[in-house]
Amino acid sequence: MRRNDSALRGLRVVAVKELQDFTGSARMVILTALILITAASSLYTATNTMKTVVSEDEFLLLSLFTLSRNPVPSLLSFLSFLVPLTGIAMGFDVVNSEFQNRTLKRVLSQPIHRDVLLFGKAVGALGAMAVVLLALWMLVIGSAMLVLGLPPSTEQVARALAFYGVTLAFGMFWFLVAMFFSVVFRQQATSALVSLGLWLLLTVFWSMIAQVVATAVGGVGSFQAARLEVLLSRISPNTLFAESALALLSPSTRTLGVVMFTQLEGALMGSPLPFGQSLLLIWPQLSALVALLVLLFTASYVVFQRQEL
């Protein structure tokens, strides 16, 4: 049936309310505090390491994300662990709580379209996550300026911002996964457990599965097996995020996945790639990540629209 009213009417109202809910909720405050504490410890370790190890580096700011010293992991490692958890924590009850609290009928009997509620929740989550990550990025850049006494170069800021965008997309992927399950399952515990199960599968077990399958298909140590393993591992958003982070934060990264001799021909090993070239390098990863976001939102949309209230 064709709509005669504005499709996005009420979107701002829903998005602002969700943003307030996310930023004000106890679980978000705890997760944000956790991220900031771990980030602060990683930054402290990284800056200390930097003082003792690094002599000359034109990408010192970016090193703050990747440097680590045993036992404290790098900020990047913390982010790849905590950002998905934040996304899941925000999304696992975002729709089914409306069913359980019996607020859905009340809201949908107001003059808004049903999908605006779903879209508004996603926009609200995007806003909340963007604010948290922006605060973290400001902390990193501020720390770098404080410790190093040097303003970051334009390229470093551009790379840091691109990494910010990738991290945001990564976080939204896990939010949308959890939101999808919160649409499918009426019980909040079920959607939380299934989301966490998928996260464990893709974070911990997926690389093992990819390796086993690739070896079984291509044979041990073969080039075909190596390529298949890379291909399979890229199904996981964690791989897409890790590869994008590597290319953005380590500008000397010239290739991702299996390296062939032809790729190394004429290359100046260790010299950094321009920012544009690094972006080109991760363009497939970025496209895949965005495609996954669209796919997940569409799946949630279709299931939600077909549900009886």
Binding site: V13, N101, R106
Partner: protein, 322 residues
């Protein structure tokens, strides 16, 4: 006449059906009309199709066939305009418990596109009418059940709709609050000119405030009208008059009553009290017959059929037929 009547209708449902994916027929060729300023009660057991009908009227679920006209609009084509003019109070209405009463009302009022001042003035007026102003800034989780129901009705008032659909509005309320609620619903009709659809299992409440009622069964509404009309259809138009007389001596009152035209049955309930089944209201005839026979007449009451009697008789008939 037909045109006049149609134009006065604010809701017209024609042959409305809803069949779910598993071939469950929730609503079956239902037709209903709600007139402007009328309170219409919909009754029926759980699963009779009342809630599905309400959802279709709001465009929350799509009918399988049939047509819906709400204030001249189709809820599937212009759902927002319909929802702007129709307020719905579900039986299990929930609120955002961590938000205050004011914030809850303000959230839904924002969807109406009202400015801050207008929203505030409407909310304050509504909560004042519902006697909730002293708890307005408290979180809803601290509200009692009755307060939540009052907040729900306040939300209906904030919307200022042409039509209010109230699903079990007095569910779980104490008698005092129920009486208050019913008075308020009556005032919605009188003062605001609102048309109201009321779904309830409390038959006495429905009888006390509804102009007409419709009885739902298995997705159909085969019986609708005023309680008297329904009673006439179910009980064949007969009514009962309870007659109380004084000392009769050796006079046979039952025989005297039996001579009156229109009396079809007489039952002596106890000494001096007779229950007379009549075809129409012939109380003057009864009075003159008794007085002419020197019988002291103490009282005479027409016993009208209650909605409860109508309801029980209808569903007994339906079950017997099944």
């Amino acid at each position: 006449m037909a045109t006049e009547r149609q134009s006065a209708n604010v809701v017209t449902l024609r042959n409305l059906s809803k069949i779910y994916g598993n071939n469950t027929v929730a609503v079956d060729s239902l037709s209903l009309e709600l007139r402007k300023g009328e309170v219409f009660g919909i009754l029926g057991p759980n699963g009779a199709g009342k809630t599905t009908t309400i959802r279709m009227m709001l465009g929350l679920t799509e009918p399988t066939s049939g047509s819906i006209d709400i204030l001249g609009m189709d809820p599937l084509r212009t759902p927002l305009e319909v929802k702007r003019n129709v307020a719905y109070m579900p039986d299990d209405m929930g609120f955002y418990e961590d938000m205050s009463g004011y914030e809850n009302l303000d959230y839904t009022a924002r969807f109406l596109g009202l400015g801050y001042d207008e929203r505030r003035s409407r909310i304050l007026a509504a909560v004042s009418r519902m006697r909730l102003e002293h708890r307005l800034s408290d979180r809803v989780r601290t509200y009692s059940h009755g307060m939540k129901r009052r907040l729900a009705l306040a939300e209906v008032l904030v919307k200022r709709p042409a039509i209010a659909i109230l699903d079990e509005p007095t569910q779980g309320l104490d008698p005092h609050s129920t009486a208050e609620f019913l008075t308020l619903i009556r005032s919605l009709k009188k003062e605001e000119g609102m048309s109201v659809i009321l779904a309830s299992h409390h038959l006495d409440e429905v009888q006390s405030i509804c102009d007409r009622v419709g009885l739902f069964h298995a997705g159909r509404m085969d019986l609708s009208g005023t309680v008297d009309e329904l009673a006439t259809r179910l009980f064949g138009g007969k009514m009962e008059v309870v007659v109380e007389v004084g000392e009769t001596g050796n006079r046979d009152v039952a025989k005297i009553l039996g001579t009156i035209d229109g009396v079809s049955h007489i039952l002596q309930e106890k000494e001096g009290v007779y229950r007379v089944t009549v075809d129409s209201d012939i109380r003057p005839g009864i009075a003159s017959a008794l007085v002419d026979s020197d019988v002291a007449l103490y009282s005479m009451d027409v016993h009208r059929h209650t909605l409860d009697a109508v309801y029980q008789a209808y569903y007994k008939e339906v079950h017997d037929a099944a």
